[in-house]
Symmetry: C2
Subunit: 268 residues, 2 copies
């Protein structure tokens, strides 16, 4: 039994879709969420900078004495996971990229997997690497979808606009015969239904957040480090800028309203 | 005569549209451009953070001994201009917001002006304030257009997609009888033609970058601080992240290719 909280971070607000899945699967745990809203998005930044940022944030969680860190940022977990694991050897660190990939490798029947994400995530080749380590017969087809995040953040999550953009990016998979699509960005679960509808559910969609939450439960359960009983005060939120706008926009991603968030500057 | 360079900054690459106009109008001057690509976009950040960032950058230009600083970032010049002028009293600082507004006030004949920009720029009310100080009879109609920047950065600068988004944001001006539209964001001059075409040139479009360049020439000329003869090596570029991607993407905004950019971290 381990009553310490679980730490989870993202470059911004999107990681709340991963927290949502963690809360569902681990309802008795306490969570500390950090969103690096002053420096969002990580998607276009250099690998060096993303490693530096991820290290600063992990250091914050170490001070907060968490029992496990969930790197819910796809860009960070594609590029910086090994780096922070090396820097914080005593900490358990779980990345959204790896567990999404593991799940997709189980779901696929014809070994043709499509992967979508930000430019940096796709360019990193992280999904490709993990998938082919699991099964070298898997064919990975990747497509960066840089306009999905701004569209979702502007509330275009269904209707004509988002359908056109979905076609623009995903039609490339039509002749690849994929049977599984990996959503490689925290925002994408919000348009999971719209994607399914656009392609008449002709492939299965893997939501990495859900798979990561299951993995966290398995790790804690195996090591007998699950909290036995809820403390009642479960969720604490930190951001690096504009707490008000974070609180206002959280419900689209978390599926519930939040009351407050505090400022935390990882660079200090 | 003053042979010192002109400093110009933006949150990212967009300010190159302003530099382009400066080069046209002041072909003999030397320029130092800084793009804060590690912290782009400023558009969604808090006013406190934008003032802090703008101050750090102005301090860099002071050390570089420039003769004038052009704040080519609309978010910064809407929110932080007074702050940096107070902090750096010995420096001449020119903001894109004010000269765009001055020009629009001259161009309009019916005193109905539309203003478009990022959420933070529009929310700041900076254009409204300047315009009504110039002429209290001017009616300002504002609309934030948060999807224009990602669209332009993805290369959608003409065609169906951008036309639809232009309609989505700008149709609100149709019943306002505007005769002038102020482009309140560095990226927007790139879709100036597309906007004109969509509305069959039914209003005049004011490009703040061009007006700012004219203002800089007037200030330097009046004070006899223009460079007499070109030095030959005119343009120096600094960014706070990923010099390579900046160099690759510069030509869309600057209208010419650049060879190199150096790293500069304003926070150090």
């Amino acid at each position: 039994m381990d009553n310490k909280p679980i730490g989870i971070f993202d470059s911004g607000i999107g990681g709340l879709t991963v927290l949502k899945e963690l809360i569902k699967i681990l309802p008795d745990e306490d969570f500390i969420y950090f969103g690096d809203t002053a420096r969002v998005p990580y998607g276009g930044k250099s690998p060096e900078l993303i490693r530096e940022y991820s290290e600063e944030i992990t250091s914050f969680f170490q001070k907060k004495n968490v029992k496990i860190v969930v790197d819910a940022c796809f860009t960070s977990s594609s590029i910086a996971l090994e780096h922070i694991r090396n820097k914080f050897k005593s900490l358990d660190i779980v990345g959204v990229t790896e567990y999404g990939a593991r799940s997709a490798s189980v779901v696929t029947e014809n070994n043709n997997i499509g992967v979508i994400g930000t430019k940096t995530t796709i360019k990193s080749g992280a999904f490709q690497k993990v998938l082919q380590e699991i099964n070298s017969k898997i064919n990975v087809f990747s497509e960066p979808c840089p306009l999905f995040v701004p569209f979702i953040e502007e509330g275009f999550v269904e209707g004509d606009f988002i359908t056109q953009i979905i076609h623009h990016y995903l039609d490339t998979f039509l002749d690849k015969n994929i049977d599984t699509l990996l959503l490689g960005c925290t925002h994408y679960p919000i348009i999971k239904k719209a994607i399914g509808k656009t392609f008449k559910d002709s492939f299965k969609i893997v939501d990495c957040g859900k798979e990561t939450a299951i993995a966290v439960r398995n790790i804690l359960s195996r090591e007998k480090r699950l909290r036995k009983k809820s403390s009642g005060k479960k969720l604490t939120f930190y951001v690096s800028d504009d707490t008000e706008s974070f609180v206002q926009n959280a419900s689209l991603f978390l599926g519930q309203k939040i009351k407050t968030a505090s400022l935390m500057f990882p660079w200090e």
